[in-house]
Subunit: 388 residues, 2 copies
């Protein structure tokens, strides 16, 4: 009897909670609102708003995703809808605009954080996205912290260890250091970049070597993503002290994060994970600002990484720096950029320098610009080339 | 020159991105909108909405958080505001209601996911919340997957290892298994429950033993939180087959998740983490449905856990089951419930049974109901009593 009463109480709690949370998710007198609703080659967005004057849809597949939007139409039960042709396979973000205010889709639990913005995801299935959704065998994602003496703070990392890491306690793995861009943090590659899904799929299919992926926070003044509510270190930049430094010291100060990466994060990972601690088992890749960090790391530490992948990169290398990489015996230099990227000229210049110095490399030019669609594509493309 | 151009390009990108993302976050002709803005003993919420007819604030500190709300007033630059007395120290959730639609605060990056809802957090500082924000020494949070033969699916865990776990490779730790309630998943305790922050603070202050905390997904048909876009296993319940099972087999089938916890998750953790694999180093705690799982686990496996903590629990034990726990030598039975909780009667009944059977225990009665404020308080209260 007690058990029956308890069961009743749980059911009651579930109903109360459902009513509170989800009442607005039902059409009045109708079924549950579903959004986004992919059917064949179209997708319908639905949103219930009883008192709105207008509702629009804004999506990253639109020609001008930040300014563009299309009208939604009020239907039965005050459910506003719009049906559009399905965009080509990719992961897009979208939101509704209700009387001028940006609103997330309450029916869609798939949400990405881009800096301080939370946006719903639309995943259009197809060949392009097949490695962006969950594989059958999944690696472990963890968030260890390391103490940085260089930057004077305790800092959070994201680390992916592949499926089988726990079950094979004698096996050692190569490591990819994967760096985010400006506005990002240690969660950017794992959430927007779909790193775990891409690596899980590539490894499960036998296309990529099982590897560890380390995703640090690339903002030298941050302990962790802002969602953790940690203080940002105060800027204590002393211009006079900086300018009077010898050049080598000034370079270290200017590149504090890259110095911490190569002198602190790499040793921390090699101490705390089962890692092959050799250049031929270390890769570095990064997008935009992180592409700049990738180039800087390979310039300052030419013997550390045998695999170097600047993506839509903000950075350059001198002929002498490229020569040092050639001498160090770099095994892969994978330079990637979109042909509509505002940093494309810089990538072309770097390609030219690499060619002139005779450093064997790949210059992978894709469509499009400075967007996550490209960075997922690049990761999916170069990861199978690593450690082989 | 190249470097200067690249730097300019990055700055330009930052400005473009800032404009796109944050234009709406500035008052027209004024400063940046700040929200929530805690000043002394009041807090002001600010939200820019150019075309709204009305804006309201709804918060979990209100007497009726799901139905209640207060009006915000339109000010200069179409920034709607309301200033209220600061609620007592706690973590609250809130959202705005714009022309009838629920909207998150775009100025506040602190967001909690409760099931499928994303809500902003208001953290009011004070003694009650001092262990809910980040400590100086932080443990690692990871998400390994285990294969469940009992449930027939691969399932995601959340595991907290304390600060020092990596640096002390010979040290072994006790383990707390911490279970969520209905509507939750393996991220509930780490996000709404602030488990990492609470344990970090208690351990740093020397109040709790360094311990590992394992937070499984308590929905037997789920591989992982719905945010991972994994399929939910189809319900294949065969009533006739179930009813014709011998009682022992029926019990296992009915309690599939608890069986998986005790026969699969515990061994998985003891194999893959540095764990003291003994009853005196195992604790189990859970809230609501997870409190029911806690009671069921201790009923079915009375010799497995020496520390048992049902919180606002939906569950009961027979005199015989309590006698078995007493015989097994349970070291702590911590039963907690709010005096306004709809499950309070059940907890009082369980307290009575424990008393009648002479099982030494604590019945911790707090104010309030079936809410996270209580579950954080309970964790902060019983964690220091474990493994001592």
């Amino acid at each position: 009897m007690k058990r029956i009463l308890t069961t009743l109480a749980i059911c009651l709690a579930a109903v109360v909670s459902m009513q509170a949370q989800e009442l607005a998710n039902f059409q009045r007198g109708g079924g549950r609102v579903v959004s986004p609703d992919i059917q064949g080659d179209s997708v319908t967005f639905n949103f219930r708003a009883d008192y709105a004057t207008y509702v629009k849809l804004s999506g990253s597949w639109m020609p001008n995703p930040y300014g563009g939007s299309i009208d939604m139409r009020r239907g039965p039960g005050n459910v506003w809808s719009v049906k559009i042709p399905l965009p080509s396979p990719e992961i897009y973000t979208y939101n509704f605009i209700v009387d001028g205010v940006s609103v997330n889709d309450p029916q869609n639990i798939l949400v990405q954080r881009d800096g301080s913005r939370f946006l719903n995801m639309l995943i259009v299935p197809g060949e392009r996205t097949q490695n962006y959704t969950e594989a059958n065998q999944r690696g472990t994602v963890s968030h260890p912290w390391y103490d940085s003496k260089v930057l004077g703070i305790n800092r959070r990392l994201t680390v992916y260890t592949p499926y089988g890491y726990e079950a094979n306690p004698k096996k050692k793995y190569p490591v990819l250091y994967l760096l985010h861009g400006a506005g990002g943090d240690e969660e950017a590659w794992i959430s927007m970049g779909r790193t775990a899904q891409i690596l899980d799929n590539l490894i499960e299919k036998g296309l990529a070597e099982p590897m560890i992926v380390v995703m640090p926070n690339g903002n030298g003044n941050q302990q962790a993503a802002q969602t953790l509510n940690l203080p940002t270190a105060p800027q204590q930049f002393d211009r006079n002290a900086f300018q009077s430094m010898p050049e080598a010291q000034r370079n270290r100060a200017m590149n504090g994060y890259v110095v911490s990466l190569c002198e602190e994060i790499v040793p921390f990972i090699e101490k705390n994970f089962r890692v092959i601690a050799k250049p031929e088992a270390r890769a570095i890749a990064g997008l935009s600002m992180g592409g700049g960090h990738t180039i800087t790391a390979s310039n300052l530490y030419p013997q550390m990484f045998d695999y170097i992948c600047p993506l839509s990169a903000a950075g350059s290398a001198t002929p002498e720096q490229v020569a040092a990489l050639k001498k160090a015996g770099v095994k892969l230099y994978f330079l990637a950029c979109g042909d509509a990227d505002f940093l494309f000229e810089g990538s072309k210049n770097l390609d030219k320098t690499l060619t002139e110095q005779g450093l064997d490399h790949i210059f992978y030019v894709s469509d499009g610009g400075h967007v996550w669609a490209n960075w997922r594509l690049y990761l999916n493309t170069f990861a199978p080339m690593l450690f082989k």
